[in-house]
């Protein structure tokens, strides 16, 4: 992981935590794009977010995205295929 990805990831984790602890926070329910350690795009759905984020930073490796309020820590089960 690069320093930039770490920076983006740290901000994403902070926003995720805020979103789960405070449903009234600034980005609650929003789709947020981060590039170069900053929030650079906010949207109401993934389609819009992806478009805006690509306009700001075309290199996906320098970006990350999250849905604020979605519980990314919840363990999801995928059954096996036998």
């Amino acid at each position: 992981m690069t320093n930039l990805q770490q920076l983006n990831g740290d901000l994403a984790k902070k926003l995720m935590k805020e979103g789960l602890n405070n449903p009234q926070c600034a980005y609650a329910g929003k789709f947020v794009g981060i590039a170069n350690g900053n929030v650079v795009a906010v949207a109401d759905n993934w389609d819009e977010l992806a478009r805006r984020l690509h306009q700001v930073e075309p290199d996906p490796a320098k970006t990350c995205a999250l849905e604020v309020g979605r519980d990314y820590d919840a363990v999801q089960e995928i059954w096996g295929l036998h």
């Binding site: 993934w46 996906p60 990350c64 849905e67 979605r70 999801q76 295929l81």
Partner: protein, 132 residues
């Protein structure tokens, strides 16, 4: 309502999606296992694909998810454009990138994705369909 139906694949329900790779190749079809038991309606992802497919599509990193069962462990999520041309479906979706997919399939369409549609065999036990 527009409907798409696909033959069962290895006797299991299957759907076909279209991906768009970033490096200029044309649309690429992927056959997915339609699995209502994969994840729940609140999952942070809608599909599972090979991570290499996510990267070839220029997927934006979108956090990680912890899975149990067949894919136990932490896996990355990417934003990937997914199309179902016959249904006019064209959206960017959160997709888990995994190192390997079920034999005979290119990935898994999880419950949160299938739940966007009406789904079933529509009276033909040899097929599986989605209706929008």
């Amino acid at each position: 309502m527009p409907r798409s139906q696909w033959p069962l694949r290895n006797d299991r329900p299957s759907i076909q999606i279209t991906l768009t790779f970033a490096q200029g190749s044309g649309p690429t079809a992927r056959d997915l296992l339609a699995d209502t038991g994969a994840g729940n309606a609140q999952a942070s992802f809608e599909l599972l694909l090979e991570e290499s497919d996510c990267l070839m599509c220029g997927g934006t990193p979108a956090q990680t998810v912890v899975l149990s069962g067949a894919y136990a462990g932490t896996h990355p999520i990417y934003l990937v454009r997914v199309r179902l041309p016959n249904l006019g479906f064209d959206h960017v979706l959160p997709v888990v990138g995994v190192p390997a997919v079920p034999a005979g399939f290119d990935g898994i369409a999880c419950f949160r994705f299938l739940n966007r549609f009406n789904y079933g065999n529509y009276g033909d036990s040899g097929q599986f369909g989605l209706e929008l």
